[in-house]
């Protein structure tokens, strides 16, 4: 059996990749994808430790996070769409009319 620490390391790595992605990409879609990576890092943990602890709580919760991630993407895509229309592109650093 794979020791649980390894799962933690894996998920942490995935999480960090996600953070790296959203810090370096200016494209809104890539931003969203990075967030998905981070959420999936959480899912890895949940599923792995669900197995470790011998209950299905984590697995069930994973389904919820998946569903919510999808819903989030749905809303996000809608916002990105209007962003594209109003700011002629999906570069998140374009929208800076409000600051300070």
């Amino acid at each position: 059996m794979v020791p649980p620490q390894y799962y933690l390391l894996l998920s942490a790595a995935v999480f960090c990749i996600g953070i790296f992605g959203l810090l370096t990409r200016r494209n809104a879609l890539l931003f969203l994808m990075s967030v998905e990576l981070m959420l999936n890092a959480a899912n890895i943990n949940l599923v792995a430790f669900s197995y470790y602890w011998g209950n299905v709580t984590g697995q069930t919760f994973t389904l919820f996070t998946l569903a919510l991630a999808a819903a989030e993407v749905a809303v996000g895509l809608g916002i990105i769409l209007v962003l594209y229309r109003n700011f002629d592109g999906v570069d998140v650093t374009n929208a800076t009319t409000m600051r300070w």
Binding site: L66, A67, L77
Partner: protein, 138 residues
């Protein structure tokens, strides 16, 4: 080991079924070749030119709807897993069924709303209708 046999069988069926269907249709269909038919199907879009065209916005809407409803079905999964055993352990049918009915009911309300608001109504884009008239004229 028997698990692996099951998985292998499923893989075989998965590959075999489409192959079989394609084979059957190739054998049965009449062959009348023409230019339009040989073109690559691209969801009604013009398949030629650069890939960076602006797609019709309505694909987006359908995709969003699909995404949401597709994922919601995932939530039905845990329910199906426990459905039988719950009944066997003496839970009444209403107790087991009601939550899912409520869940589906909420989804239906959303779907009906989306439908009525034209989210799934395919409006011809100007480009598409232009093409159609062009074709008619030709």
């Amino acid at each position: 080991m028997s698990d692996w046999i099951a998985i292998g069988a499923m893989g075989l069926v998965g590959v075999g079924l489409p192959l079989a269907m394609m084979a059957v249709s190739a054998l049965l269909r009449p062959s009348v070749p023409e230019q339009g038919k040989s073109a690559t199907y691209e969801s009604g879009e013009v398949p030629t030119g650069t890939a960076r065209v602006q797609f019709n916005i309505q694909y987006y809407m359908v995709a969003l709807l699909f995404l949401v409803f597709d994922i919601e079905t995932v939530l039905i999964f845990p329910w199906t897993v426990i459905y039988r055993s719950a009944l066997e352990q003496g839970a009444s049918l209403a107790t087991v069924l009601t939550p899912m009915l409520v869940f589906i009911g909420v989804l239906v309300v959303g779907l009906v709303w989306a439908w009525r608001n034209g989210a799934v109504k395919w409006v011809k884009s100007p480009q598409a209708s232009r093409r159609k008239t062009e074709r008619k004229d030709a």
